[in-house]
Amino acid sequence: MTEPRTLYDKIWDRHLIDEQDDGTSLIYVDRHLVHEVTSPQAFEGLRAAGRRVRRPDATLAVADHNIPTSDRARGIADPESRLQVETLIANCAEFGVPFYAIDDPRQGIVHIIGPEQGFTQPGMTIVCGDSHTSTHGAFGALAFGIGTSEVEHVLATQTLIQKRAKNMRITVEGALAPGVTAKDLILAMIGAIGTAGGTGHVIEYAGEAVRALSMEGRMTVCNMSIEAGARAGLIAPDETTFAYLEGRPLAPAGVEWSHALANWRSLPSDPGARYDTEVTLDAAAIAPQVTWGTSPEDVLPITERVPDPAAIADEERSRAVAHMLDYMGLAPGVALTDIPVDVVFIGSCTNGRIEDLRAAAAVARGRRVAEGVRALVVPGSGLVKAEAEAEGLDRIFIEAGFEWREPGCSMCLAMNADKLRPGQRCASTSNRNFEGRQGPGGRTHLLSPAMAAAAAVAGRLADARAFAAEEAAQ
C-alpha cells in the first residue's frame, strides 16, 4: 500500500516530469494566465531566441493592472500604460495566445476570470506572473505566482523548474459567527502565523468553517496565502466546487465532465497524510478584522485599540511598530473604530466577486456615504459587473453615493489613475497594506467588503455587525 498523501503531494506527483538527485524538479503546467505587466519581457525573450508558445490552448491573456476603470471608451490616457496594453495585444496576436479584449464582457482581473470561465479546474497546476495566483487554489488546483523569467520558461516549455514545498494545514474548527466573513478568517490566520509563517510551504485550508465557505469565500482565503508567505493555498475540491464549475464555458462537458469528476474526487488528502506544520483555529473566536500597520500580519479585531510600542518588550518589534504608526498617522491606544477614513475601495482579486458586492450592498442599502468620503466599487470582471447590475446592486451603490466603476485591479496597487494622495487613509478590501501600495504616502486598512461599506457610511472604521443589527431591529 502506498503512503497516505496530501492533496498537494498528489498534484505534485501527477505533474512531475523529471527530478534531479538534489530534488530540483521539472513539473508540467496545465494552465498559464498572462497579463500586461509581467509578460512583455518574456515575449521579447521568446522572440529573441526564435521560440514559440508551446501551448496557446493552455494560455489565456487579459489586461487588468493598468486599465482605467472609468471612461473606457476614451482609451488609456497614460502613454506608458497604453504601450504596455498595446504590447500585450500585439504579443498575443503574434504568438496565437487567446486574449480577452478590453471591450469584451469577459474582461476582468486575471484571477477572477480564470475561475469564472472554468479555465481553473481541480487538480491542475496553474501559474501566472502575479503573486495572487494562489486564488485558484480554492478549486484544489496547485496555483502560484511566478516571475517574468518563469513566464518565459512556461510559454516556451509549458514546464517549470521547482522544488517540492512543505505541507502546512490550517484547520478552522467550528462555524464563523454571524457577520464574520472569509476575509476576516484569512486576516485572522495571517495574524496568527505571521507574514512569513507559510514561507516554503503550501497551505491546505481545512475544517468545518472552510468547508462551509462558498467558492467566492474560498477564493478570498486562498488569494491571501501569499500574504502569509506561502506561494500557494489549497482547499480540497468538493460538491461546492463541482457545482460552481459545471456548465462554465471552459469546463469539461458531456462525457468528459463525468470523467473529470471521477478524477477530481480522488484528489482530497488521504486520511493520515502527514503535514510538516499544523495550525488549528477556533472559528467562533474570530471577530471582524482590520489591519492597523503596514504588513498584513498587523491585524486586530475591530473591537480593539491600536497597539502601543512602549508596551512591547521586544526592542526590534517596538521600533517597527513605532515606525508603522508614524507612517499610518496613528496614535497608540486609539480605538480602531475612532479612525476616520478618506477613501473606501471595494474590489480587487481578493474581494471583487459578486458575493463581495452583495455583502457591501447589504450595508450600503438605504444609507449614505459619509460627508467627505470618496467610495469606489470596482467589480472584478465584466461578468461580475453585469450580474451585479442585473440584481440592481449598482443602483444601491450609486444612490448611497458610491462610484460604480469598470472592472480592473484599480486602487489595489495604483497602477492606473485610481490612487491615494499622500496622507489619505483608505479602508480597502484589497490584499496589501504596504507603504505606498495604493499611492505614495497612502495609508491602507485591509478589511472585508461589509466592513468597507460600513466604514464608508460611518466615515470611520466601523463594526459591520452593528449595521446588520440595526437592520434586524427595523
Binding site: 516530469i17 523529471d18 538534489d22 530540483t24 521539472l26 508540467y28 496545465d30 505587466v37 509581467t38 512583455p40 519581457q41 525573450g45 521560440r51 490552448d57 493552455a58 493598468n66 497614460d78 506608458e80 500604460s81 504596455q84 504590447t87 506572473g129 502575479d130 503573486s131 502560484f144 505566482g145 511566478i146 516571475g147 517574468t148 523569467s149 518563469e150 520558461h153 516556451a156 516549455t157 509549458q158 514546464t159 523548474i161 507574514t195 512569513a196 514561507t199 516554503g200 501569499i226 508567505g229 469539461p252 468528459e256 470523467h259 473529470a260 478524477n263 526590534e316 517597527a320 515606525h323 495604483a414 497602477m415 499622500p422 496589501r432 504596504f434 507603504e435 505606498g436 501600495r437 505614495p440
Partner: protein, 203 residues
C-alpha cells in the same frame, strides 16, 4: 546570463524586516516593457522626496553606499508581489549579492534567474555582517561563490550554504530554458500520456 565571478564590494545595511517588493520598486514603475533602466527607481519612496531630490538619511544616498554591490537586509526580504522588476532594479543599480536570515519564496527564485546571489545565514552572523556594513569606507566584503565564502573587512571568513543547482547555474551563467529544452522528449512523452488520460485538458 552573465557568469557570477568572485568580487570585492561595498555592503550597505538595510536592517528593517519584511522589506516588500512594492518598497523595492513601487508599482507605478512597472509600466515598462524592458528589463533595464529600473535602478534609478530602486527603493524610490525611501530614496527620493516629493521633488525627486535624494533623501540624505537613506543609506544608498550616502557615500560609499551609492556604489553598494552587497545588501545586508532584515528577515523575509522580498515579500509580497511577484514582480521580477525587483531583482531587475537591484541588478541595474549594481547589487550582485543580498544577505539575510530569510527571503520570500518568489523573490528568491526571481533573483537567481537574474544572476543575483542570495545568501541565507543565521541571525547572529547576519547581525555581525550588518555591523560590518555600518562601517562606511571599511564596509567591504569579498564574495566567493565557488568556495562559498564571504570575507569580512577584518579578513575573517564566513562560510555559506547554497543549493548546488543554483550555484552551478550562477557560476556558468546558464539559461533555464536552454536546460529544460534538453528534456524535450520527456515533456513530449508527459503530454502524450496526460492527453490520453485527461483529454479535457487539451483544447
Amino acid at each position: 546570463m552573465k557568469k557570477f565571478e568572485t568580487f570585492d564590494g561595498v555592503a550597505a545595511p538595510l536592517p528593517a524586516a519584511n522589506i516588500d517588493t512594492d518598497k523595492i520598486i513601487p508599482a507605478r514603475f512597472l509600466k515598462t516593457i524592458k528589463r533595464t533602466g529600473l535602478g534609478k527607481s530602486l527603493f524610490n519612496d525611501q530614496r527620493y522626496d516629493e521633488t525627486g531630490a535624494d533623501k540624505p538619511d537613506f543609506v544608498l544616498n550616502r557615500a560609499p553606499y551609492r556604489q553598494a554591490e552587497i545588501l545586508i537586509v532584515g528577515e523575509n526580504f522580498g515579500c509580497g508581489s511577484s514582480r521580477e522588476h525587483a531583482p531587475w532594479a537591484l541588478a541595474d543599480f549594481g547589487v550582485r549579492c543580498v544577505i539575510a536570515t530569510s527571503f520570500a519564496d518568489i523573490f528568491h527564485n526571481n533573483a537567481f534567474k537574474n544572476g543575483l546571489l542570495l545568501i541565507t545565514l543565521d541571525r547572529d552572523t547576519v547581525a555581525t555582517l550588518m555591523e560590518d556594513a555600518g562601517k562606511g569606507a571599511n564596509a567591504r566584503f569579498t564574495v566567493d561563490l565557488e568556495n562559498q565564502e564571504i570575507t569580512r573587512p577584518d579578513g575573517s571568513v564566513v562560510p555559506f550554504d547554497i543549493d548546488p543547482f543554483r550555484k552551478h547555474c550562477l557560476l556558468n551563467g546558464l539559461d533555464d530554458i536552454g536546460l529544460t529544452l534538453r528534456k524535450l522528449p520527456k515533456i513530449d512523452a508527459y503530454e502524450a500520456c496526460q492527453r490520453s488520460r485527461q483529454p479535457w485538458l487539451y483544447g
